[in-house]
Amino acid sequence: MADAVMTVEMIQASQAGMKALGAGIAVGLTGIGTGIAEMGIGSAAVGATAENKDIFGLVLLLTVIPETIVIFGLVVGLLLLF
């Protein structure tokens, strides 16, 4: 690699690529996190609703709480890209 020449364009291109990678990782990992978090809540919520229909609203609410995580990821991703 000693004789490799880095031009400014190459550095800029790799920076853009890194940004895109970062954005992708941010959204992807937070998505996984949200998924894992909602997995437990969701299954409990379905069980609870089967027992008592009246709490549907409350459990829907509890289920979507971890959604904030992926929204943060998306926000970070968007800020990185634009």
């Binding site: 609203g57 829907l60 609410l61 929204i71 943060f72 998306l74 926000v75 968007l78």
Partner: protein, 655 residues
């Protein structure tokens, strides 16, 4: 507005012989929310007992039970049927006595016959199942049983079996399971069984049938087909009956339900040997009217009075009191919880802000029009009260979507003729972006401003609620704690503003400095500290919740983020369908090209259909979630009882 309908606690006392007219009148007025009497020796109620049902209760409930068994098997629901006429009670009573038993008898007979036929079909199906393994066997079934010197084995094996003793067998190999019929002398039974067991033998019972299994199967299948035809006939007859009598049955149901409810009302009253007392809730505006009419039907032999309300201990039933345009929002409130009587009712705010949030998220003229068309189309099919209100909510949301679509200048992801009035959301996908790409920072700041204001409003409402509901020393602390949350939030904001100049936000960087620190920063820090003190004075543990200020405000970024993702899906769909599939074909039109263009149109439609579904789901769920989680947690508890006045809304009958 913002408060539930004011209620009065009303007590009615009268001699027992006036019970029936009073119940009739209360039922007819549909205003009195009965508070059930419980025999617990409450002060002033010593010696009172729960009343006995009126004499008619037994017969009416029996009749209702019989009727319900028919309406249930017809799957009749009053929501599904629009009445063509209202029947009067005396006319219906005659029908109930004369015609109803006949209709019920006919229906029960048909239903009984149907279930008999269904059992028979099940039996035949079981027989066929037992016969299936033998269909390939080349011997009639009667030859496989009834021997004293021979033993017959039949069942599944993993491979063919040839025992050492004399035997005859038929081996039918098939994929997965091989069937064998093995006949050996009775004396060699044990030996053969051992050989079979080595081949993982699973015995199958030999059916008690004569003839070849195949023909028997055919015979039973034929029988099943005939029975099914008969069932179809019965179903058609039942359908005819249902169509013919639906309205009448529902009207009878309504009348009998009313009768049973009236007859059982005394179970909720307090009675002595000679008199009864009913307590309940009536909207303040209706009290006078109700007491006057009760006096009238009892010829002045009743005593009606208003009781004082003890807001701390009484569970006052809650009836919404909203202007008609905010009514649909009540559905969204009931999903969460009905407000308490003393609480601010946020329905009005929800019904205004929910469509706006929905519009900000979806914000596309095309999707707005599609959604509006869907709502108008669905109106014919959704008949229930809740469904109707939900549709109105969606209609408002779709109108907001259209308005924001015009502001964003978006139509199914395409830009319209004018440039976006709101911060631009067009991405540069496939060169369709136009301009300088999306204005992410502006959009974010817009979302955060919405969050700051919405949460501040929530906290202010929290102060009002606490000042109304709490008492003593706790009241002041709780109010100040809510003020503390506002101070902390705005203190953090002031600190940020005096450090950095952010576009579209207040710029405090130019403030004069005292001892090297800007006044803005000092003010921010002071607000923050005071706020934290206020919060800690109410409840020290709340301090750990401080970071939620940031996470809740940032959570409003979903208004932008979810919206942008739906724009992205729309633009990608357009690019794939038009840019990649259709446009290149249009240059040199060929026969195959036309097919590809049709495929492109299909992709276009599918993509946008999916995005519409996602848009409704995302827009609806996220905006309601912002209310439930970020807004309501600041001030709203809920848990009020629904105001359910004694009586019913008559649909099929009239007095």
């Amino acid at each position: 507005m913002l408060k539930p309908r004011p209620m009065c606690r009303v007590l009615i006392a009268a001699p027992k012989e006036q019970m029936e007219p009073v119940i009739q009148e209360l039922y007819r007025r549909h205003l009195f929310h009965i508070e059930d009497f419980v025999e617990q020796g409450r002060e002033g109620y010593e010696g009172f007992k729960i009343g006995m049902p009126l004499p008619r209760a037994n017969d009416a409930s029996k009749e209702l039970l019989e009727l319900r068994s028919v309406t249930n098997s017809f799957m009749l629901k009053s929501e599904d049927i629009d009445p063509t006429q209202k029947r009067s009670s005396p006319e219906l009573e005659k029908i109930i006595e004369r015609d109803l038993p006949l209709i019920e008898k006919e229906a029960t007979e048909l239903l009984g016959n149907r279930s008999k036929l269904e059992t028979q079909i099940k039996e035949y199906e079981q027989k066929i199942e037992g016969l299936i393994p033998f269909t390939a066997v080349s011997v009639p079934l009667e030859l496989l049983r009834g021997y004293s010197t021979l033993t017959v084995f039949a069942g599944y094996v993993s491979r063919n079996v040839t025992p050492a003793c004399p035997f005859d067998s038929e081996y039918i190999p098939s994929k997965g399971r091989n069937f064998i019929v093995l006949i050996v002398p009775a004396t060699a039974g044990a030996e053969a069984e051992k050989a079979l067991n080595d081949a993982e033998f699973q015995p199958v019972e030999i059916p008690e049938e004569d003839g070849y299994a195949k023909s028997r199967t055919g015979y039973y299948a034929g029988n099943i087909a005939t029975l099914q035809d008969q069932i179809k006939e019965i179903n058609a007859k039942l359908d005819d009956q249902k169509k013919q009598h639906a309205e009448l049955l529902l009207a009878c149901d309504e009348l009998l339900t009313a009768e049973v409810e009236r007859a059982e009302a005394p179970l909720r009253f307090a009675t002595t040997d000679l008199a009864f007392v009913a307590e309940g809730w009536v909207p303040e505006t209706e009290v006078e009217e109700l007491s006057r009419s009760i006096m009238q039907v009892t010829a002045g032999k009743a005593y009606v009075t208003e009781l004082e309300i003890d807001l701390e201990h009484d569970k006052v039933p809650v009836e919404y009191n909203n202007p008609s345009f905010a009514k649909p929002g009540e559905v969204l409130m009931d999903v969460y919880s009905r407000p308490k009587y003393t609480e601010i009712d946020p329905t009005l705010m929800v019904s205004i802000v929910f469509p706006i949030f929905f519009g900000i998220i979806l914000g596309d003229l095309g999707y707005g029009i599609i959604l509006l068309a869907m709502v108008l189309g669905l109106r014919k099919f959704l008949k229930g009260e809740e469904g109707r209100l939900l549709l109105i909510t969606l209609r408002n949301a779709s109108i907001a979507t259209i308005i924001f679509g015009i502001l964003y200048s978006e139509f199914l992801g395409f830009p319209l003729w004018w440039s976006s009035i709101m911060p631009n959301r067009h991405l540069s996908i496939g060169g369709h972006g136009g301009g300088h790409g999306p204005a992410i920072p502006e959009l974010m700041i817009m979302a955060i401003w919405i969050g700051i204001l919405h949460i501040t409003l929530g906290r202010i409402l929290g102060m009002v609620n606490h000042s109304r509901q709490d008492h003593g020393a706790h009241r002041m602390k709780a109010v100040l704690a809510n003020l503390g949350w506002i101070l902390v939030m705005w203190g953090i904001l002031t600190l940020i503003w005096s450090g950095f100049a952010i576009p579209y936000m207040i710029d405090l960087t130019g403030m004069p400095a005292v001892m090297g620190v800007s006044i803005g920063a000092i003010a921010g820090a002071v607000m923050l500290v005071i706020g934290v003190v206020f919060i800690a004075r109410d409840s020290f543990l709340e301090i750990v919740e401080l970071p939620t200020i940031i996470s809740h405000v940032l959570s409003y970024a979903r208004l932008v983020a979810v919206g942008l993702s739906s724009v992205a899906i729309a633009m990608v769909t357009n690019y794939i369908a038009i840019g990649i599939i259709i446009e290149p074909q249009l240059e040199h039109l060929t026969v195959i090209g036309v097919v590809i263009i049709i495929a492109g149109v299909v992709v276009f439609l599918l993509g946008h259909a999916m995005n519409t579904a996602l848009g409704i789901l995302g827009g609806g769920l996220h905006s309601i979630r912002l209310h439930y989680v970020e807004f309501f947690t600041k001030f709203y508890k809920g848990g009020g009882d629904k105001y359910e006045p004694f009586g019913m809304k008559k649909k099929f009958t009239e007095d």
